[in-house]
Structure formats: C-alpha cells, structure tokens
C-alpha cells in the first residue's frame, strides 16, 4: 500500500505503522521528525511554520513514495507531512517503509527522509519568541545527503 498525506492535523504514528504492516512484512523502518525547541544557534524557538504548494506537494510526495517502493522493493510505504504552525516537540513528518527484511525497510526510510529535505515543495520558517519569523535555507549537509542517493546504486532484492 502507498499512503501519502499533507495535513495540518496531528497524526498517530502507532496507528500509521500498524496499518502499514501486512502479512508478508518482515520489517518496518520509520523516521519521525519533530520540532526542536531551539534553532541552529541554540536560541529558543516559539514554533515552526511549514508552507506547501497544494496539489504539487502531494504529487511530489507520491512520486517519492513510488520511487522508494520501486528502488527498495517495498511492500508498503507511508509519508505524512504536517503543515501550518507547529509547536516544539510536535511530530512534523513521518516516513515509513515496510519490506520483507530489515535492510530495504531501513534504507528506504533513510532515502525518503533525505529526499523530503530537498525534493518536495515544503518551506520552513522559524518563529522566534518575539513573534519574528526567519525563513530557513537548505543546509549543505541536507543537499549532500539527498545528492548522495543519486550516486548510489539501488539496493538488490
């Protein structure tokens, strides 16, 4: 199964993982991203704002889910991304992969988490305690992690 969702509502990670696993699933990999309480310099953060391009973001996430399923031979894949204003501690993204064995499940999870940073129309802004907003720029590390997958061969069986 493939489940892709962009939502302003909270999601239930346990329920999502339960619905992902099927009778042939031997392993499920899962990445959950949460909003940190501080910014990159250690200053307190009031909230994170997530903006998306309705329709186009969902389509890009569906392509990513399909690519992960094909590349790693997944039995099921779920990508959920929240948008809107998110308080520190809130789960913002879930990427999960069900496969027959642990290696493809974990590799696909890492692949999706890396690609979500750079390949999907989503934009983050940090809200400071004084109410000001700073839009984030991609980090070199995020771009390198996403690019690295272009140079590695798809996992075998």
């Amino acid at each position: 199964m493939r489940r892709v969702l962009v939502t302003s509502a909270p999601f239930d990670s346990g329920a999502e993982l339960a619905r992902l696993a099927g009778p042939d699933t031997g392993g499920t990999g899962c990445f959950i991203g949460t909003v940190r309480a501080t910014d990159a310099r250690g200053a307190p953060l009031a909230a994170l704002h997530l903006e998306h391009y309705p329709g186009v973001t969902e389509a890009a996430m569906s392509r990513l889910a399909d690519e992960a399923a094909a590349r790693f031979g997944l039995l099921g894949v779920t990508i959920i991304h929240r948008v809107g204003r998110l308080a520190p501690g809130t789960a913002i993204v879930l990427a999960a992969a069900a496969a027959a064995h642990r290696a493809p499940a974990l590799d696909a999870t890492r692949f999706m988490a890396d690609q979500l940073k750079t390949a999907i129309p989503l934009w983050k802004a940090e809200e400071r305690p004084d109410g000001g907003k700073d839009w984030l720029a991609p980090t070199a590390a995020d771009e390198a992690a996403a690019r690295n997958w272009l140079e590695t061969r798809p996992a075998q069986g």
């Binding site: 391009y53 329709g55 993204v93 940073k117 390949a119 999907i120 129309p121 934009w123 984030l136």
Partner: protein
Amino acid sequence: MRVLYFAWLRETVGLAEEMLAPGAATPRALVEILRARSAGHDAAFADLTRLRCAVDGAICPLDAPLGEAREIAFFPPFTGG
C-alpha cells in the same frame, strides 16, 4: 496566467498569487516583467540564485519555455523534512 509565490517570496512580494496576461517566453523573462510591478516584486527577485520555479506544477529551470502555461509558481529552495 496565474502566478503563485511561496515562503519568503510571497511575503516580500506581498501577494500569494496574481493574474498576469501571458506573453513571456520563459520564467526568467516573466521575472523581468514582474520586477517592474512593485518595490516588493523587485526586492523578491533581486537574487535569482535563490529562485526556483514550477510551470503547471512541474519544477523546471528559469529558462524553460513557458508555452501555453496556465500556472507558474516562484519559490525559494525547499526546506521540508
């Protein structure tokens, strides 16, 4: 043609979207037309190295042909995940 703006581009332009008569051959040519519309537009498009675009929902280079595009979106590099 519908023109959309996201993230800090939307805030700097001061609009989420606007309608424009078609005519520009590429997104880059459209940017030049847009820059003349207001000080906000001019500021938003001052640095094209930080600019990305999508034509009818497909991400493409600034020099891609616009053709009969109905929607073009301008935005900064993605920062999701």
